[in-house]
Subunit: 325 residues, 2 copies
Amino acid sequence: MDKKITIKDIAKKAGVSTSTVSRVLNDTLPVKKETKEIIIKTIKELNYYPDSLARSLRMGSTKTIGIIIPDISNPFFSMLVKGSEDYLREQNYSTIICNSDNKKEDEKIVKLLLEKKVDAILYAGIGNLEKFKKIKTPIIYIDRIEKNSNSSYIVSNNYQGMTTLLDYLLKNNHKTYIFISGDENIFSASERLRAFTDFSKKHKIKNQIIQADYTFQSGIRIAEKIQTIPDAIVCSNDLMAYGIIQGLKNRKINVPKDVSVTGYDDILFSAMFNPPLTTIKQPIYQMGRTASEIVIQILQKKVKENPIKMFKNELILRNSVLKRK
Amino acid sequence: MDKKITIKDIAKKAGVSTSTVSRVLNDTLPVKKETKEIIIKTIKELNYYPDSLARSLRMGSTKTIGIIIPDISNPFFSMLVKGSEDYLREQNYSTIICNSDNKKEDEKIVKLLLEKKVDAILYAGIGNLEKFKKIKTPIIYIDRIEKNSNSSYIVSNNYQGMTTLLDYLLKNNHKTYIFISGDENIFSASERLRAFTDFSKKHKIKNQIIQADYTFQSGIRIAEKIQTIPDAIVCSNDLMAYGIIQGLKNRKINVPKDVSVTGYDDILFSAMFNPPLTTIKQPIYQMGRTASEIVIQILQKKVKENPIKMFKNELILRNSVLKRK
């Protein structure tokens, strides 16, 4: 492979200095018309793509939005991205997606996106962006509340959703529970856990909490280790519920006959799962789309304060819960 | 919101010309040490992020790889991205993902990634990149063969996989077939269709081909319209098979008792589906990972020719096919 074309190659071929090429690219200082034409011709000949910096310096906008998600293999996040992108496309914006893979590389990724001169960042990651508080590029938080900043956020009411689900299980005579939690540093996971802790206290229910990481694989791993099977295994998201059900199947334990299992999110596949999953539906696509609507309003300076939006969640009854007598 | 910091703001605040700031950023021509220090201090104060251009001009590398996929909501592609990213992370590369949403905006996205100065592009899109043939940035094709270019590609043997599946159906006495095809412009879809056409001819089987678009929704739509139920509905990917089964369920048609349904890909959820899906397994994660291994070899100039790699596919027997007598 040949090496990448740089500004130096263009300068050399056009017989000018690199700062003259830079002047043309950045449109900073005047350059003689003839020289400019030679440089532009050379740029075309060498297939050099003038990049976003040059344009952003002139325009103050790249019409590009960055989206950061923590786990691309979780259909919750692909649906979220789809909602965001659909609206951004309509507005003629491009989207760059970065997947932090739960690795808390979020700071590094935010820096990368800032370097790539995105106009704004939609952030559904799990890290702490405290150090970016002062930057001018808007950061909109998705799936988490940012109380200590002036940022916009889009979230759904996780506490209310989980409480509704638990009340339903109690009404159907579930007396013993295991709660499979996501990483407590994740806002949604900590809210769902808080709902479970309050529920246990209120109804004096003996409970057990097992820490997992929102992945299918963590569900399987845990299901293989559970010793005393409770009336209900309440999972903090659908993917872990799938894993739990799969792991229990491997042990010939039947859901819901031997134990009820519930999820959270209502991702695309939950209705088609065996058994179909009783879960809490978040308006995932709409959350992504709303985040984009807000970001465009901010960029177009159509809002004075930073908008925030909280969606309601809804209990979806399917067949993974037994109506116990 | 304040407007974005530009090179002009820095120049103004530091009391220098923009070209002096540019010299410091791009490291092209010498600048007095005191002036340089003032400019760097100003850049820090204003939270200006020197971008990738400056660095790429100096280094010829941004350590960033772009990945283009056509549908982020298809778990096939999230698994592919995961395989690619895992290896790139180990090699200390960042990844930017762009989702073309089957809209054939691929040319626009390639341009965007070139502007963002990625070192290479992993391309799993469905467009035609003929016009980028001469660019220096390597483009590696995933999930398709590029016969008319010198590019590297990673693919699996779709023709062999589909033929194996069809032979299995025939052996189990399936006599009438409907084939649900993906968009024929997609390499994998056209290969799977070719296998079905050859199979029909060879065994003198009356067949019907219905055009769909690889999505779950297209499967549902088609299932609602099928008039004469055949022995087998062969789907060109798993997502459409899910849709077909869901659509048939809505019509109280049972899979596999009334009709066998098969998929292709073996995405994460296919084993847990109701009924578990008989399908062809592609080594999706490994395909993504191999693409990244090849791209790094190319960037490190460790290969002379452009490597290509074809993976085998494997028949996975589950319960969506009836063993007909």
